[in-house]
Symmetry: C2
Subunit: 339 residues, 2 copies
DNA sequence: ACGCATCGTATTAACGATCATACAATGTCA
DNA sequence: TGACATTGTATGATCGTTAATACGATGCGT
């Protein structure tokens, strides 16, 4: 609240030079002779001068800040992403403003507008929904650099993402390959939302001539361990219960695993479990979890690189490009061959 | 990069009023009659006008932005903190700039300077070291609002923190109470650093007439599961190994637990384990973990409240206040009474 | 019908920096 | 010695907004 600030003017007054000379000197202009520059630098250091980025941004019309919109940072996969995004941006001289949408579309819109108002040079967004992207497409149409971190190949917006559909396909295909026929899925089933994983699940089943059973689908309504526990409970109480379960992320899988422990079922003998994201806890779970793995650094580095590229383009933005990273399946003890 | 922006001037040109009238109208000044205001608002909406916060900040001398400095956001306890801090700040109209120091002091200094340069209204900091705080004290002396999130009671800077010393004391005291005498500790032993937990451990042992054995101390050099695993390995390979282990956080504890599984030891029969922070995975670990629990929301809410208070004070800042939140121990299966 | 509020809007000067340009004081060359 | 560069520094405009002040046009009371 209006704390005193050392400005160029103060350095100018102290040295007797003009504001402009001081500015040039501190930025190392060759037009300023070395001894003048030195006197100015000394004075600046004495006064503890720090350039005011706000003023700088006003004239340069760039803030060297990007906005990161997350749905929920406590999701371990997003935490990792946030960490490596911040790092990649910092390396390139950008700061990160972050905000969470809490999976609420209006909140997401509010946050985006707020970032615009703050003149961020670009945004990285985990949208709540992979489908309702009008507000983001509109941004892009206004020539605003945006890169999504979950992709719909024809979103009409730049995106870099792990190929969730393919990851889910690989996971379920693996379960089929080792002999499972009744395979459950724990994934949120937001109809407006994000059905890549579900699509991959259905594709693998269909390809194998199995038909997806709606009873084998549980919506955890969240991504935490406890949600996974209760979703597993729902599936396993069925008369004709699944012999394997695919979960949309590792926290859910750990919840499912926990359910088997409490109910004295063996994994993978009684039920196999596959997770997604391969977080550290997956490898070190009570039964090490088979999980869909991908290099999150790769995703974020590509996304940041693309964003910086967009920020650097003069005039109209190039056609949006969507990059999908192909994940791999890490097979651990929580699944293995049957019969 | 210099993308076209709608300014007050554009709205002014479109409506025929002056920039100032438009500014007043959009801010709902009573000096502007309703129908003028309406025409201006309509034009602003048509043009999709958004106030430029950068320009606003320059004149108001506040950015409504705070800087959050974390050591490492992948530490689950810090992730939670980041989430609830962002929320609390957003509720009060502040945005969050975040950066990680990666546990490097120079990096921490750089980040703080950068935030100052960006004119953040205040900072919330998890310092790398609870002792080397000169650069932060200096900030405060310059009347800059800062609140630390780990506390040394006489840090000379405002702070709100869980009482780590007391938490560790409670944990170790519990182990002693249930009959343990050889109690190991897995905690980083940075001599310049943060020995609150170690102090609590030593205090509990000493109080019980036990003397801390340096051999029973392992430095995990990090906070991840795998670090806990190897630290546990070191402790358990001792001829005279511990019957219980206190770990500085739950990830380490889960790593330790994992070690016992791989080596066919039972928890708590062969070795008891206590964690810290009570993250969700602790409750749902292979053996549910006893852990030191505290309301992270309480810590962050108090810290944010204090920071806002400091930002709001005119003139010199009040005396620094340090608030320690008293944690509780949640006892689960990973520890129980011996003999 | 005059003086004086009141009302609605405009003008000007900040905020702290950068950029383009101006302008002295030198130095260089024919 | 006069014309012309070169060098070092200063001046003024600008970025988009707000705040303080100015000012013309009404309305009102007497």
């Amino acid at each position: 609240m209006g704390r005193p600030i050392v400005r160029l003017k103060d350095v100018a007054d102290k040295t007797g030079f003009s504001v402009n000379t001081v500015s040039l000197a501190l930025r190392g202009s060759p037009r300023i002779p070395e001894d003048t520059a030195m006197r100015i630098r000394d004075a600046a250091r004495d006064l503890n001068y720090m350039p005011n980025q706000v003023a700088k941004s006003l004239v340069s019309r760039e803030t060297k800040t990007i906005g990161l919109v997350l749905t929920d940072i406590t999701n371990p996969a997003l935490t990792q992403a946030a960490q490596s995004i911040e790092l990649a941006l910092a390396e390139r001289g950008y700061s990160t403003l972050f905000a969470t949408s809490n999976n609420d579309l209006d909140e997401e819109k509010r946050v985006i507008a707020m970032f615009q108002s703050r003149q961020v040079d670009g945004m990285l967004i985990y949208p709540r929904s992979h489908r309702e992207l009008d507000h983001i497409r509109q941004l892009r149409r206004a020539n605003y650099p945006v890169v999504l971190l979950v992709a719909d190949p024809d979103a009409g917006v730049d995106a870099v993402s792990v190929d969730e559909r393919r990851g889910a396909y690989r996971a379920v295909r693996h379960l089929i390959d080792i002999g499972h026929k009744r395979i459950g899925i724990i994934d949120s089933s937001n109809p407006m939302g994000n059905h890549e994983k579900r699509d991959g699940y259905v594709a693998a089943l269909t390809e194998a001539g199995l038909s997806p059973d709606p009873m084998l689908s549980a919506d955890p309504q969240g991504h935490s361990v406890i949600r996974g526990y209760w979703a597993m409970d729902k599936l396993m109480r069925l008369a004709d219960r699944p012999s394997a379960v695919f979960t949309a992320n590792d926290s859910l899988a750990i919840g499912a695993l926990r359910w088997t422990q409490k109910n004295d079922l063996r994994v993978p003998e009684d039920v196999a479990i596959v997770g997604f994201d391969n977080i550290e806890f997956a490898e070190h779970a009570a039964t090490p979890l088979t999980s869909v793995n991908y290099e999150i650094r790769l995703v974020t580095d590509l996304a940041v690189a693309r964003l910086i590229e967009l920020i650097g383009t003069e005039g109209a933005l190039p056609e949006p490009s969507v990059t999908l990273i192909d994940p791999e399946l890490i097979v651990r003890e929580s699944t293995h061959r049957r019969n």
